[in-house]
């Protein structure tokens, strides 16, 4: 079954672009939340990850901070 993927990002962050590019290349559907314009999403991200750096991925409740390709692959099972 497809996993529920959310990416918390800012428009200006190079690593956020790369995470999203990586997911797109793997045909992984995801919800993209812009924490620069969406304060509620920003608070949610800080609460979930306990930190303030972007990008943050939430894959079925598993939180990954940064573009950690290996970990993302492992959690997604790809």
């Amino acid at each position: 079954m497809d996993k529920n993927v959310t990416v918390y990002s800012t428009p200006s962050c190079p690593w956020c672009l790369r995470v999203k590019q990586f997911l797109k290349e793997g045909n992984i559907a995801f919800q993209d939340l812009d924490v620069a314009s969406n304060q509620q999403a920003a608070q949610e991200m800080i609460k979930k990850s306990g930190q303030m750096g972007v990008p943050v991925l939430d894959i079925d409740g598993e939180i990954i901070v940064g573009f950690d390709k290996e970990k993302i692959k492992a959690v997604l099972g790809i």
């Binding site: 200006s12 962050c13 190079p14 790369r18 306990g50 303030m52 750096g53 972007v54 390709k69």
Partner: protein
């Protein structure tokens, strides 16, 4: 034993790899993060052939170019030591160990850290090295930007649209960044410039709540919810033993990218070549590979 190991896959390392592949050398690439600093750059408007391209896009084009060849790339692997013994160059990483006849060190630069108490603890918990990435998360907060050079001024100016109040903490007696940006900083009503001021610590609870600073020989506390460290870059050269470096830690190379140790070459931002530019790093990478190729012909 390999002909060549390329350390780093930024513009210099990737270009060296493309050349090595085309020379059909027996080699591999070890990289901590493919794309290197280029992937962190914002808008690039001075790489010939592209009137405009973003850093991540150019980095991904570099990577595609490299992967077009059948190259062994050890990604997410960090080199810990390079040394030459009895004509053999050994490379030890966090995952494995290798031997080669030649090495190209193209490991680039990394962000300089403050080296003060609290810095590691609060990294990403209010302290960041990437204003471009994380600034929007500091909406309405009082923040400190550390650094009076161009990247410090740039971060402070970006933050004027986001933060409530900005302290620009500068260790030098005067701003060293471009006068055009300095003027913009001076005009802003929410930026306070603190020259001749050193950050001595970062404090907080779960997240940053302040910094301690020292000026006029007096310690002061500054309440801030964010710290942006923008104090420049240092070369990733510490792992290379037995090669000459300059006072900045950059590896000394001649015009053929040779270091003082035969068989060890270096290219890009980790070297003492003047001007750190993507296009220069790429050119230096190609030159280093051709020099390594020639070295192998002479020493086989």
């Amino acid at each position: 034993m390999l002909d060549l190991i390329v350390i780093g896959a930024g513009p210099a390392g990737i270009t060296a790899s493309v050349y090595a592949a085309r020379k059909k050398m027996d080699f591999l690439v070890i990289s901590k993060d493919i794309g290197g600093q280029a992937a962190w750059s914002g808008d690039i408007e001075n790489y010939t052939g592209y009137q405009f391209i973003s850093g991540p896009e150019l980095a991904s084009k570099f990577e595609d170019h490299m992967r077009q060849y059948d190259i062994t790339v050890k990604d997410n692997e960090e080199v810990r030591e390079v040394k030459k013994l009895d004509g053999i160059i050994s490379v030890a990483s966090d995952k494995s160990a290798y031997e080669a006849k030649t090495v190209i060190v193209a490991s680039g630069k990394k962000t300089r850290e403050l080296n003060v108490p609290g810095e590691k603890e609060f990294k990403n918990k209010g302290l960041t090295y990437c204003a471009t990435c994380d600034a929007p998360l500091f909406s309405g907060k009082d923040v400190a930007v550390v650094g009076g050079g161009n990247s410090g001024l740039d971060a402070a100016l970006q933050l004027t649209k986001i933060a409530r109040r900005i302290y620009l903490v500068n260790i030098a007696p005067e701003i060293t960044g471009d006068p055009v940006m300095e003027e913009q900083v001076r005009k802003s009503s929410i930026i306070t410039v603190l020259n001749d001021t050193r950050v001595t610590g970062v404090t907080g609870d779960k997240f940053v709540t302040g910094i301690s600073i020292k000026r006029n020989n007096k310690e002061e506390a500054l309440a801030v919810g964010g710290v942006f460290v923008e104090i420049g870059l240092i070369p990733n050269s510490g792992f290379v033993k037995g090669v000459e470096k300059n006072e900045l830690g950059e590896i000394k190379v001649n015009c053929r990218n040779e270091t003082n140790a035969g068989g060890i070459f270096a290219a890009g931002d980790v070297t003492d070549v003047p001007e750190k530019q993507i296009i220069i790093a790429a050119g230096e990478g190609s030159k280093a590979c051709l020099s390594a190729f020639r070295y192998l012909l002479q020493h086989n």
